[in-house]
Each structure stands twice: as structure tokens, then as C-alpha cells.
Amino acid sequence: MTATEQPPLLDVDNLSLAYKVGEGIGYVFRNLRMHIELGEMVGLVGESGCGKSSLAYSIIRLLPRNSRILDGRISFEGESLLDKSEAEMRKIRGSKISMVFQDPMTSLNPVFTVEQQMAKVIEVHEGLTKPDARKKVARMLRLVELADIERVMKSYPHELSGGMQQRIMIAMALSLSAKLIIADEPTSAVDATIQLQILQLLMELKKEVGFSVLLITHNLGVVAKTCDRVAVMYAGDIVEEGSASTVMSNPNHPYTKALLQSIPTIAKRQGENRPPLATIEGTAPNIFNIPQGCPFHPRCAYRLDICSSIPPQRAQIDLGHFSSCHLND
């Protein structure tokens, strides 16, 4: 995205979130910054427990009861989401920001047919009559490229395959014309063969309908194929951020490099050399025990003395490419 005068669709500024577990307080993220432009697909990548999903739930304000946003601002279309009342948020959820969840199998209510689940929400939110809502459901299902729509509408969730269920979840998320779709690992529960189909569908719809997507995943390959921009998250910090092609071809942060090396590759022919599959030593820190200085330093192969004491500053490496690493100083 080139520099525009318009404010971004979503702007997360200086956000700090903490969880209280028993007597301990753990910071999920401190002073987090990210933004999403209109019509952009942004990949948020990181290991489990790094705070990716917490960020998503902060945006739609569905955090668990034991969490608290300590500081910062989340603005959507120029309005501060953190200042909204629960009733106002309810109107925003679904119709302005909606979510596609990880496991479609359990994200649909088992006792209602597809039509019943989708139509009811449309009726309530958009004030449509039953037949109009029904028509809209059919249109949404056609949009997500489902075949045999009459049958699908009358089906119960368990009668459909995982891929079909995820398409229905996407149709549902789009049904109220949300401007931002947060997809929280939308493909981790479906077959590998369906994964790419689902993501391509999301990409095409994005172009067609014109919404933005925040794609949360731990799969860098997926991001490379689908996203415009990528943000790499480690222990609650966005350590590198930039256009997907730049970050993939020219990663700056040691963590991003390590992540890219740990994607398995298959040698094309017998006898051809295949680079050994790299792993990142150690485990991601938990939120109660984040290392001093750069959070990644205990696992970093390029660690300097300074890394264990002073947290690195976010620096611009290239146009729109940011990284937080002392190696850049």
C-alpha cells in the first residue's frame, strides 16, 4: 500500500493486554502496533501461544473474563472500539467485523439446519423478511461456490464435509457485509487438499466483495501464497512486518528466517540434495516468563551481548518493511 491520507481500516496502536491466572499476571502483548488497510489481506504468523488469537479477540472484544486491556487504542474506520459499550460492539460484530473460526465442525450449532442458522442472523441484523433472508442465504452460499444449494440449506452441519462447513462459516461471516474478516486459522481443521481451496476462495471473495482479511495462521507457506502483507509475531511482539513477497524472499529477523527454514520441502528427484529440516531450539516463552531484552534471544542463533538486556527497537529496513532486531543497528 502506498502512503495514503486515509486512515487505515483497522489501526491497533500501543495495545497492551494482560491475563490474570491465579495470583500471577502475564502480559500477552505490550505496546503492540499493527494496521490493516481497506481491501488488504494481512497474515499474522507465529507459534502457538504467541498472542495471535488474543489480538483477534481483542479486536472484536470477546476476550475471556480474566483478561484486561491495560493500554492502547484499537480504531476501526476511525472509531475507537475500546470505548464502545457491549451493546454497540454487538452491532459491530458480524456486520462490520466478523470472524471465521478454526474448527468449522464445532462452530455450527448441531441442532439447526444451515438455512436456519444463517437466516435467523440475517433477519435480526438486517430486518429482512423470512423469504428475503432465505434468498440472501442462497446467494451467500452460491458466493462461496457451494453446489446443490437447496440440499445444503436443508442439511444439518454433521451431514456436510469439513470443507463445506468451512465454506458455510465464510458465507456466514460475509452475510452481513462485514468490512473486516478475521480468520483464525481457518484451515487447520480441514483436509490439506481443501486448505488451499478455502484460502483461494477467501482471496477471490476479497477481490470481488472488497473486504479486508486478517489471516491468523502458523503456516508461512499459506501466507506467501495468499497475503498482501505479513506480520510475524513472537511472544507478543510483532518482530517483523512487511509485504509478503519481501518478507518471504528477504527475511530480516532471525525468527522469521528460522520459521522459513522450518518449512519442510520435498526434494524434486531421487538423489537431489534436500536441505535438512531446521527446527528452532527451545520453546516459545510463556506469558509469565518472557525473557529480558529481546524475547527471542535465548533461541536466537545470531545473538549479541546486548540482546539479553535491551529490547530492540522497531526499525524500518525498507519501504514498509519493519523489523525489531539489534543486528540492524
Binding site: 454487538r90 460484530r93 458480524g94 456486520s95 473460526f101 474448527d103 462452530s107
Partner: protein
Amino acid sequence: MIGDFFEMTVTTIIRRDWIGKMREQLKSKVLLCGVAILVFWIIVAIFAYLIAPYPQQGLNGIPNPAQALRPPSWQHLFGTTELGLDLFSRVIFGTRIALFTAAVVTGASLLIGYPLGVIAGYVGGSLDEGLMRITDVFLAFPTILMAILIVAAIHPSLWSMILALSVTRWPQYVRLSRAQALSLRTRNFVLAAKGMGEGRFEIIRKHIAINAIPPVLILATTDFGFIILADAGLSFLGLGVTPPTADWGLTIAQSIAYFPVYWWYATFPGIALFTLVTAFALIGDVLTERLDPKLAKMTGVWSKL
């Protein structure tokens, strides 16, 4: 070798399939059996006036000492009581009391307990905490003992028995539907509904309450049988239905003095009670299996077949 193995596997599969089919058939027969008995008794209750040869004697009955303690005959199919009342008519009219009591008690406990439990489980907090402590008080006493205390405190009658049993049964429904709501509220489709901007009331109604129905329904079915037994038990102790109303438990209590010489007096109401309670037990068991297979595997009779 391979042939043997193949044959063995095939026979095992066939055999297993055969047993499975038998079990499946048996189960549907059992359900049918339970429903048939129940329907039979419901018809008897509805058409009591038409079926009973002496409706007046069944309803309340003026003593007729001349006919006292007659053995079963064509005139009195089940014999007569010590007051000379037709036992057949008494048993038929007793059905009404048994089914009526069970329906009112189960209905009232369900109507009070189920919504309270679902709301408490979903909303949580002090509402939930407060309600749970109240149910604890009720659950601390055995149902029958509690009911006896309540009836004794008021005075024995059909309605005080119904009140006492309802008061003791509703906490069960609160507990069960609360537990269901607790597990349902963390389910993904509830989160997805929140993500779609659905309100609290809609979520409770559409996602929590509906999905909590199956186990509550099972509890209600088995409770039906239990209430009929409790009704008979309380009446037997003189804490329920009062004479001259016809009630199975009461009739059995009155027959005790004449057993075993006048065997028919205790036997026929006993058989009636047994069949009706059994019908509910059978229906409840098959329902458990159908609606909640996981639970049935742990508790059902069928797993042991």
C-alpha cells in the same frame, strides 16, 4: 493359513453384525413395549368412566359390606375390597391419580428447574452461586424424607403431596441443565454466535437451551416412573392421597391386613404399579441410548447384553 484367517475375520464380522442387529431389534422392541404399556395406561386413565364396571365405586364409593372381600369373578374381575368395592374399578381410577401426579410434578419441576439452570449456567456469577446453594439445601435431604417432612408439616392430601414432590424434584433439573449450560457455553458455536453479534438472550435460547434438552428429557422420563413410585409410597404411608379416593399405593396399604389370604387385594394394584413404572424405565433407558450414546455406554443395560 491366509484362507483360515480370512474365514475367521469374515465370521467374526458376520457374527458381530448379527449380534448388533439382534440388539438393535431388541432395543426397538423394548421401546415399543414400553410405549405400548404407557399408551395402554393412558387410555385406561382417559376412559376410566367407560371401562370401569362400577365407576361410582372407583371414584369414591359407598361401602357395600355385603360384597366384602370377594375373590375375582366375572362380576368383579379383580375381586372386592374389605368395604365391598369393586377392585377392578378402583385400580382403573387409581391410574388417573398416578399419571396426574407424575405429570404435574415432573412438569412443574421441569418448568422451574430447566430455565433457571440454563440461565444460571450461562450467566454464572453470583446468580449461579446463590442458586446452587439453594439447591444444595434441597439436595442434602433424600427426596422421600423431604417430601414426608413437607406433607407432615401441611396435612396429607393429593395437592400437598404434589407440592412436596415438586419442591424436592426441581433442584435436580436445575443442576442438570446448569451443568449442560456450563459445558455448552464454552463450545465454539456459542463463540461463533457471539462473533456474529448475537445477544445474550438469543444465545441462551438458540444455542444453550435447545442443546440442553436431551439429557433433561431423559431425566424427566425416568423421573416420571420415580414420581409414580413416590406417590404410591407416600400414599402407602398415609401421607398422600386420602380415602376414599382410589390410589394404588393407598389401596396396597389398606390390603396389607388381608394379605395373603385375600391375595387379589394387594396383587392387582401391585401389578398395575409395576407395569407402569417399568414402562417408564424401559422408555428412559432406550432414550438414554438414543439421545446420549456416551452416557448409555457407561450406565445402560444394553452395554452388558
